[in-house]
Amino acid sequence: MNSRLIAILLAGIIASGLIYTHPAFAHNFGGDESASWIAKMTEIKTEASIVAKHVGDNAAIDYYSDALGEYWNANDTKEMGEKNTLLAQEIPATINKTLDDARQSGMQSLVNDDITKLSGYLDESVPVRVDKDKLDNSTIQALAVTFVLKEALEKYGDSINSTTNLNDMSQMQMDNMSGGSMMMTSTIVDQNKYENSIGLASAAQIMFNNVAAKNPDKSDANTTVSTAFTKLLRDLNGKADANTIMTDIHVNLHPVLIDAYNLPLSSHGTTNPGSAIPEFPLPALLIVVSIAGVIAATRLKSRIGF
């Protein structure tokens, strides 16, 4: 009778595992050129603003020169040129001038002016490159936030020399999913990338605050995401381990953002708004646990007295 009861209970666990859907999903965000452009402009502005803190420090300027080179390349100039030849010419020229001026000590004021001018050009490029309906679309805006966060994670991973790809949720350690694990402190091996990651995460936070201000109808989700951003920044500043940062983003931040702003997720190379691939096959996991339980129960049944 007891065995039958246990069997029924285990079958119940298995069945509930099949029905239960966990909020944790592998979120590979779908591509969107408009969101990418908005994110790219924010990333360049962030890098340039950090350049202003390193005037005369050529090693740091070399790093940011490379970073800016990744964000604005010949293809961007070409694409911009199709819409506005002046911006196509001025944006790369101002980036170069900013870097050249920043290599020389005592040019702080000039660098600040360069950055103000560059920010103006970058802001001007957004309505030129992004259609108005997309520019006003909260999904596109929120997607741009996730793109900037992705860069922040990548830079943070590099800064702590992590072997884990922080953007790949499947590489998270599961015990951290609940957020109950102790935070470990990481050693920073690349100070520029570390500073860069915090700059990008802060920029993403500001972007999100702007999005939230325009979407007061999503106040609950906005509050949750805001709290998640605050924790993320605190953990980044506290040099938290990769798993803690991944938990901040993949568990505390992304799912809420996906839900509230209906972010498109990429699945098998296609973009399906609202769909998601279960990251952890929890039903299968429960089945394995159940089988282990049955084996243990049958092996030890005499000892446990049924």
């Binding site: 079958a11 802001d123 399906n272």
Partner: protein, 238 residues
Amino acid sequence: MTRINQILIPSVFLLLLATIVFVSPISIKPAEAHITKVFGNYLVQVGWSNEPVYTGLVNGAEVTIKKGSGDSAKPVINALKDVQISVKYGGVTKPLDFLPSSMVDGQYNAPLIPTRVGTYSLVFKGTVEGQAIDTEIVLDDVASVAALNFPSSTGSGSDNSASVGQINSLANQLTNDVEEAKNNADAAAKSVSNVAESFQQVKDTTDKLYLISMTGIGIGIAGIVIAVISINKNKKQN
């Protein structure tokens, strides 16, 4: 002396007249089509992209913002980030979306086709680098495009009836083309909708299959579990 005067005076007069006739067209400047207004340390220049302005022709409102005064004034980049600009005709207004010019720093254009003859103005609300700009600036008057027509479209006689016939024929052809294009567009939209629906159906089916297969696996494993327990129980009884 009198004879000299008789020749000299008309000559001087003619010379003066000639000077006026030949030199004055050069010295007369065209009417300043763009209007500049000063707000604190900022210059706001407005006008039409193409002047003179005629109804029904593609044109645009043009705004240039500079900081400073005179020739030393410098263009303000991203000047309109905190300014809303609307075009006004009579009591009707429409917000305009300005984009930066491809030619000049600090200049912004918003495409516009003026449809009526008369006075249009731009209404500014906002700030440029903290300088408040709340004003209405009148643009050059818009003239009727009829002033450019040649020959006049209001002629008479057999030429007119022939033209009307041609126009009717063209209009019919155009209507047919538009109708055909509309049908094609409808068909294309329907196809796209069908494809999207098919994708959704495939997704739904996949989701259902996943659920069914997992349920099947679960039930199967539950069966195995029950069987193992039963076998063990039987063995124990034997």
